[in-house]
Subunit: 340 residues, 2 copies
DNA sequence: TTGAAAGCGCTAACAA
DNA sequence: TTGTTAGCGCTTTCAA
């Protein structure tokens, strides 16, 4: 391995000082136009590659934004990350992405790892952390954003919505449309906290109407899978055969229930209504189309990135709101039109 | 902002030299067990956070592996990245993830950006790059891996399979099963190169049997969407009404065609057979279940990470093969059982 | 607009 | 096992 080419080499070739080379590589620095051209040419000829690691150390700025999500393989989180990534890029920031696999201990490890890399802000999904994870976030001297949920006790900033309220609204709407025998799949004690919140919202809405809110089926894996939905639906059918409307913590579950019904010859929505959560790409294309809630994941990502940009631009803290509530939208479709 | 706490501070508090603190933070360094305990305690009390940026510069090692994929929102690529990420973590490496949106110019920009951060290896998806992108990869003095495809002229290492051959095999198999009027959706000149390769494989297989291989429908967007499939299927129906078997460049297209059929009352597979590519999670759960090809994305990720680990461990270059072929599997299911 | 000097926080290399 | 010295490649700061 020959020695790496540095700014000094470029400087010598261009006949200037290293400092001028440094400036030439900064878009907005004041360097004579021709000098800059010469420098960039020299750099190109030498095959010089700017070294961010040195720049990061000296300037105490890395341009990193740490982001942890539960899973990469979930189109909602993928949409959020895509939006964050796009938006941050406009501000010259680069996400440092990690996934927790829905495990707070893994989150803690990720947070610790990421903080060592000196990101300029850190984004985590949800408000559930280990004790130490939370401490790390609190002591990090950078903006901390919890997204997707509205934590009861936010570490600092939050961008998201209440999963409980969203599911409450969906359920309430369906009850008003005539659905009275409802069951819920997902959100058991082992699941993702967002799924748990959704289940709570379901219970609150159903109880609020004086209906039976006890037809709940736990799922055992933290991430959502179609297979799991099949198992859960079977359990629902045997324990609560009277259920006419199944609401699921995720569209993936809803799709699983729908496919199980198609296999079993159960007509949806005539015999059974189904609703999901998340507005996955397939939802408007299934037969029947799937009732769901669009949590607008891209909007969450965008608002998160905008918030970071504002905070890093040094906007007076009192001008930046702490909690950023994002919208969600009920999408009532064919799969729940059976009771009218 | 008060001054950051450094190793020097920790050293003073623990009554040792900074070098000893440095060693205490390295798992395998030789430090007296009690000394290390004292140091870590002191660090904890001071709220010290190890500074990777300084470590990276001094040791000329960042622990980063740059990875670019076309899209985050594609479960195949998400699976690959998840596997890479898991595997690299075991070697203390951290992926630096970026997505190109199926655009070689964006890829070039990402490569350039990433190389400045001094990753220890770089992984790109596929073998298509801009001229400069390729040059950057060639001149980077780190292992370069092209994954998912088997490029004709690899930059260095490759881990993947031939999309053309995989689709050829699927098509060939279907022809042998009695499918003789075939059409293909996707892989037009504007699409993802992997989709183009698949189309070529289709053409080769169909022509190979002396059948009409000209029933091809272009899609216009680079990423796969269900909506696009609806449009394409409509075009296929009007231009080639004789088609009895539709093969799609992606499961997402196949799902779109299937849902369009369900809407239109076309019986699958009795009136029309459908096959996709990618073994998406929904494929075994649709009604009918979907014939597809499993390209084993996790395996690609795993092999890629293993290759990187081997190369960084300094294994003699001649011991490490250049091309790593990964397996794929034909999954013949209900959606193509109409011709038997 | 350009340059010189100093140093960001860590660790390689060497010494004890 | 521990310490000393020097310096990784940039950019801050100050001066011209």
């Amino acid at each position: 391995m020959t020695k790496a080419i540095t700014m000094k080499d470029v400087a010598e070739r261009a006949g200037v000082s290293p400092m001028t080379v440094s400036r030439a590589f900064k878009e907005d620095a004041s360097v004579n136009a021709e000098t800059r051209r010469n420098i960039l040419k020299a750099a190109d000829e030498l095959g010089y590659v700017f070294d961010s690691t040195a720049s990061n150390l000296r300037s105490q700025k890395t341009g990193f934004v740490a982001v942890t999500i539960p899973s990469l393989n979930n189109s909602n989180f993928a949409d959020t990350v895509t939006a964050i990534s796009d938006d941050l890029a406009e501000h010259g920031l680069q996400p440092l992405l990690g996934y927790t696999n829905y495990c707070v201990e893994r989150e803690e490890a990720l947070i610790e790892q990421f903080l060592r890399r000196k990101p300029e802000a850190i984004v985590v999904t949800g408000g559930q952390h280990t004790h130490r994870g939370r401490q790390l976030l609190e002591k990090a001297r950078i903006p901390v954003i919890e997204m997707w949920d509205q934590p009861q006790a936010p570490v600092a900033y939050s961008v998201g919505f209440s999963n409980a309220r969203a599911m409450h609204d969906l359920t309430d709407r369906l009850v008003r449309l005539g659905h009275h025998e409802l069951g819920f799949i997902g959100g058991g004690p082992q699941s993702d906290t967002r799924a748990q919140d959704r289940r709570n919202g379901f219970i609150r809405a159903v109880s609020g109407h004086g209906l039976d809110a006890s037809r709940l089926i736990d799922t055992t894996s933290t991430n959502f899978s179609i297979k799991e939905a099949h198992r859960a639906f079977q359990e629902l059918r045997s324990r609560f055969p009277e259920v006419k409307t199944v609401i699921c913590a995720s569209d993936l579950y809803a799709f699983g229930v729908l496919s199980a019904c198609q296999r079993a010859g159960i007509k949806v929505p005539n015999d059974l209504s189904i609703a999901g959560f998340g507005a996955f790409e397939i939802a408007p294309f299934t037969c029947p189309t799937l009732t769901t809630v669009d949590a607008k994941p891209s909007e969450i990502g965008q608002k998160t990135a905008d918030l970071i940009a504002a905070l890093l631009a040094g906007e007076a803290a009192q001008e930046v709101p702490i909690n950023h509530e994002t919208r969600y939208e009920l999408l009532i479709r064919e799969s729940t039109s059976g009771c009218v």
